[in-house]
Symmetry: C3
């Protein structure tokens, strides 16, 4: 298992980590199997979505904020309950099949680390299983 | 790894692919392991939910539309930002354990391909891991 | 594959199952691989989120209820359409890497069974894959 270090620069941000994950898959030498991207944080997540138009990421973050605003009415006193809820809805792991040594992402897909309570230093764990 | 081809007929639709996935598991000959259903699209998803009453799928789609309407106010100009957001919230992969050569779905569970921007020709990748 | 039996005591509840899952990982003797927690129900889910402050779980349940209320206007006549929608949004499986015989959960992370239509007797399947 290896890690990818991530430094977010805003409270909320979708950071494209596809090439870093692809490097780990290549370095593993594994030709067939699964790549799991695991986020060990409780106010962040990981998703796979479109990479072509950055507006998609803005719309995603803005929609999450409309549905789950940062708001003083939550019970949890740290001011980041919205971030915890977003983490659960987006999820903290992504699973991608590997064939011929490469992740089988769709042509428009990229892997995004989703920061919901930055800026912070973060990391993701990359687990590659042969099979 | 194998594929299942899917043809959606509406803008939004939940298509039961359980028997197609089960056939791939059977054909693999693998008795114990994991089945991963992977959606390589950015305006679709996959979920596991009830198959008995079709009203559950209608309620799911209607609730997603109430929360994330197709709306002209998004930044992304293609008119399908809602579809991208739904894809991230529902997710693009499902993982089901295999025992005795069969997926261990619950008695009421079925696997649904979720079309959020159809009608289109789509496919899912089926990855079966032994272990 | 093994099971963990769960008894919920409310309609909605997040039940910390981390130590039960960790016992299954330990008992498997597997040092490296994946642990999959699979929920075979259609009105429940599983998520990984903060364990330190119980207010985080209250905020999560209250936010889900604000977005997806139990409401008489759904088409499905059993009165639990909200539970089915929550199940799809939270998800019915969690995947955690295993290294040195232990799940690589982050320091603040715990695994929660999410009851959305209790109280009921439930179970989760634990599948551990070596690799």
């Amino acid at each position: 298992m290896t890690q990818i270090d991530i430094k977010s620069s805003k409270r909320q941000e979708m950071i494209n980590i596809t090439s870093s994950v692809a490097s780990k898959v290549l370095a593993s030498g594994i030709k067939k199997g699964l790549c799991i991207v695991y986020v060990p944080h409780t106010t962040a997540g990981v998703t796979i979505n479109e990479s072509a138009d950055p507006a998609v990421r803005n719309d995603l973050i803005n929609t999450l904020n409309r549905l789950i605003p940062k708001d003083p009415s939550y019970e949890h006193a740290e001011g980041n309950s919205d971030s915890h809820v977003k983490s659960t809805l987006v999820g903290v792991s992504a699973t991608v099949p590997i064939e011929q040594g490469r992740m089988m992402l769709g042509i428009w897909q990229a892997i995004y680390f989703c920061e919901f309570d930055g800026p912070r230093s973060r990391h993701v764990d990359i687990k590659i299983i042969e099979g």
